[in-house]
């Protein structure tokens, strides 16, 4: 009986529990490393979040520098915000096309195309940004500091997150019961009236879920953004100016700073911030799902 049942059951159970252990391990390790700069070097969280004075010491065990990361945080917020501004209308339109306008063309052509967009590696998006967008913004939009800019990062991120938003939103729209559509048509509404007065409001919580998922992806995206953002530690004067963000800073400096130094620890605090943002997005999605259920 041991070999016939308990051994196998034991192994798969351990693997199931391993997933919890792994998630906890990632959270705990990052929590310990990421709070080091606050506990060991006595910086305040407020300094980290709101100050723009970034001059950490790069010597193991020596504190006394400044770890204001607000430029990086603002950089992340601005690029992600811009990406959402660009991506949300387009992905919503794509989703509406798939779910309401032409389900046949949508499922045969548009959806496979969107899946291919998902598969393109982020470095390749960064490369495209570097070879097309950056020169374009430099030459055609006359960006004052070369083409590396918030705009380039926003566009690259928008292309990367629109498949996520479109897919989730299309699923949400498809889940709207057909009786809603029949009722709307029966009352004499046109298709566009049906879309903006009935379908989209009914699929609201699903659409927001898609947007949050996209946002969470945009926040964590690293190399594609790092390649086009210009990595300049100043608040950008406009979207044509370069700046820096959390992920690009980590990617650029983590390996060059002394392990255990203030600089290194501050970068780990940024990583912890990314983890917290990603977990917060999940919580928001769950709250949305719950409110969506309540509506029904």
């Amino acid at each position: 009986m041991f070999k016939k049942e308990y051994l196998g059951r034991g192994i798969v159970t351990v693997c199931g529990i391993f997933i919890i252990a792994l998630t906890l391990a990632i959270s705990v390790f990052l929590l310990v490393k990421g709070t080091g700069v606050f506990t060991q070097f006595h910086h305040s969280v407020a300094e980290f979040l709101f100050s723009d004075n970034w001059a950490p010491k790069d010597v193991p065990g020596e504190g006394g520098g400044h770890i204001g990361a607000s430029i990086y945080i603002m950089g992340s917020l601005m690029t992600c915000g811009l990406a959402l501004l660009i991506a949300v209308p387009f992905s919503l339109a794509g989703a509406i096309f798939i779910a309401e306008i032409s389900p046949r063309l949508g499922s045969r052509i548009l959806q496979p195309a969107i899946e291919i967009f998902v598969g393109i590696p982020s470095v390749v998006y960064g490369w495209v940004g570097l070879t097309i967008l950056v020169p374009f913004i430099r030459d055609k939009l006359h960006a004052p500091m070369g083409g590396y800019s918030v705009l380039a990062a926003g566009i690259v991120l928008a292309i990367m997150i629109f498949p996520t938003i479109a897919t989730v939103a299309a699923d949400a729209l498809r889940a709207v019961p057909d009786s809603y559509r029949q009722a709307a048509y029966g009352l004499g509404s046109t298709r566009w009236q049906l879309i903006y007065k009935v379908s989209v409001p009914a699929a609201k919580s699903g659409i927001f879920t898609g947007i949050i998922l996209g946002l969470s992806r945009a926040f964590g995206e690293t190399l594609a953004v790092a390649m086009v953002i210009g990595k300049t530690r100043v608040f950008p004067k406009g979207i044509l100016y370069p700046t820096n963000n959390l992920t690009a800073a980590i990617a650029a400096d983590m390996g060059n700073t002394a392990n255990g130094g203030e600089y290194n620890m501050a970068l780990w605090a940024m990583a912890l911030l990314l983890l917290i943002i990603s977990l917060a997005c999940i919580v928001v999605i769950h709250l949305l799902a719950r409110s969506g259920e309540k509506d029904k």
Partner: protein, 298 residues
């Protein structure tokens, strides 16, 4: 009445206009994809120079090999783990705290930014073990990223099997484990393989998680088959830069390589072809196997 009919006309007009807008945006996506793919491939082909595919520092052969080897290593770890965890969720898990926690963990893992996973890998597999950048650490990081997908694919594949597979096997006196091992999992193999191919495709493109795990350089000696040597291609404890990281290094780190722009262009093309190839293969396989399953059921 007049007012009504003008309102009617306006509403009809707006409807037609919006339909046009939606077709336009749908078409724009398709166009964007075609232009993007064509640009990457044309740019790649026109950048080819003699020796770009060679296994030297002037070519991308080593990076190509590293990419495949790293994804292969990661699958060796992630497939058994993910399939087992998925089996647990589908066959053994009861409703309750534990199952809920596993589902939540999968969700959390699958939405983690890859740089965060890379940093965790850097901390645990590099800093804590005191090793240099190595392929195995990179493979572990990719494993963490692909585990959620393999687990959910397995769970969903098992859950989608007809109930009589289970009842038939249990009725013949098999235990649940025997049912799982001899009946259910074999029936799920096609779906699991499709999922694994998709995961592998994503693994090829992974970069941020590898920055600080598998490293940004590679020196191989293809005549050296001493597995403990740092230049032996098969050694898993050597630095192993992948194609995607190579693009990053060539275009951003001020590389000394005279061909760095061309190398990045060709690497992007190769990467795109690999990723698209795998995603098309997965699509084709899943359709083929669906057809076959339908045939067998009749």
């Amino acid at each position: 009445m007049n007012e009504n009919s003008s309102r009617y006309k306006r509403v009809r007009g707006v409807d037609k206009f919006m339909t046009g807008v939606f077709y336009g945006i749908g078409g724009f996506f398709i166009l964007l994809l075609i232009v993007l793919a064509a640009y990457i491939i044309v740019k790649g082909i026109t950048s080819i120079y003699p020796g770009v595919f060679s296994f030297t520092s002037m070519g991308i052969g080593n990076q190509f090999f590293n990419t495949i080897y790293l994804v292969f290593l990661s699958l060796i770890i992630s497939v058994p783990l993910g399939v087992a965890a998925g089996s647990y969720l589908a066959e053994y898990a009861r409703k309750g705290r534990l199952t809920e926690m596993i589902t939540m963990s999968i969700e959390a893992l699958s939405s983690l930014p890859s740089i965060v996973v890379g940093l965790f890998g850097y901390l645990v597999f590099i800093l804590m073990t005191g090793m240099k950048w190595n392929l195995l650490a990179g493979a572990m990081a990719v494993t963490i990223l692909s585990l959620p997908a393999i687990t959910t694919t397995t769970r969903d594949a098992l859950a989608a099997l007809p109930a009589h597979y289970r009842s038939g096997s249990i009725g013949l006196g098999a235990t649940r484990w025997q049912t799982l091992w001899h009946v259910l999992l074999p029936a799920c193999v096609p779906r699991i393989i499709t999922g694994v191919i998709l995961v592998a495709g994503r693994g090829f493109g992974e970069a941020a998680a590898l920055l600080y795990t598998s490293g940004q350089s590679t020196v191989l000696n293809w005549a050296n088959w001493d597995i403990t040597s740092p230049t032996c291609p098969l050694n898993v404890f050597r630095p192993g830069e992948t194609l995607s990281l190579h693009i990053w290094v060539m275009r951003t780190e001020g590389s000394m390589n005279p061909h760095s722009v061309e190398i990045a262009n060709v690497s992007s093309m190769v990467l795109i072809i690999m990723v698209l190839g795998f995603s098309l293969l997965a699509r084709y396989l899943s359709r083929k196997l669906d057809e076959k399953n339908k045939g067998a059921a009749k």
